[in-house]
């Protein structure tokens, strides 16, 4: 594992958020000292305030916005589901 992979995590967007942001997947560096929450990650994406309906998953499990993000995590922002 390279140094950058050790200190980075993946961000995924889906559906309308992809259109809004113009991308699907992004690798983001963790800051050296600070703790980073899922909500912090959203803020850095500069997509405006997070709609209450947008849920967050870390490593494919739904989490609260205050959950800490660790190196190697997969952080996903999920618009309301419309399957079935």
């Amino acid at each position: 594992m390279t140094k950058s992979q050790e200190r980075s995590f993946q961000v995924l967007l889906f559906a309308s958020l992809r259109d809004q942001a113009g991308w699907t997947k992004q690798r983001v560096m963790l800051p050296d000292q600070d703790l980073v929450t899922a909500e912090d990650v959203w803020s850095q994406l500069q997509l405006g305030p997070r709609p209450a309906s947008v849920q967050i998953a870390i490593n494919r499990e739904l989490v609260s916005p205050q959950t800490l993000v660790h190196a190697g995590d997969e952080v996903a922002f999920l618009p309301p589901f419309t399957g079935g």
Binding site: F14, A15, A57, R60, A76, L78, F81, T82, G83, G84
Partner: protein, 146 residues
């Protein structure tokens, strides 16, 4: 028959499938079986004709959420086996989007588990629909009313 039926089968299909052939291959001799089949409507949510429906999902998470729901509901309702087939990708009107089937020893458990699992898939599984018309895609904002 012959081959032991898996308790829980979940498959995402990116091409059209025949729901009745799938059910014929899956079903066992259990006393009660309830099934639900949902198809793409002819019209979009705004009532105008629909050209195609596109279904995006979160691979891995999607199957896992459905599996967890199926496992929990199978136990809650005392059912014996579950089949979920769900389309992803581009679909045309009248194509099958979702198939949920549940077998149990009694009719109530089969029916209740099937209904509950369909609701769980609609509200908890990371799928997103986009309606296409005149080369324009519109993300669907919510589920159809129950």
């Amino acid at each position: 028959m012959g081959v032991m039926q898996e308790k829980i089968t979940i498959q995402l299909h990116n091409t059209i499938f025949d729901p009745w052939l799938q059910l014929a291959a899956w079903s066992s001799q259990t006393a009660a079986a309830a099934t639900f089949i949902g198809r793409v409507r002819e019209v979009a949510q705004d009532g105008r004709p629909l050209e195609a429906l596109e279904l995006t999902h979160y691979p891995g998470m999607c199957e896992e959420i459905i599996r967890q729901d199926a496992q929990r509901l199978l136990m809650d309702h005392d059912a014996s086996s579950v089949l979920v087939l769900h389309r992803v990708g581009r679909m045309l009107p009248s194509e099958v989007i979702v198939l949920v089937a549940v077998e149990a020893d009694l009719r109530g458990p089969a029916q209740r588990c099937c209904t509950a699992l369909l609701e769980a898939i609609k509200h908890q599984a990371p799928f997103w629909k986009r309606e296409w018309r005149d080369g324009q895609g519109t993300w669907v904002s919510g589920n159809t009313p129950l």
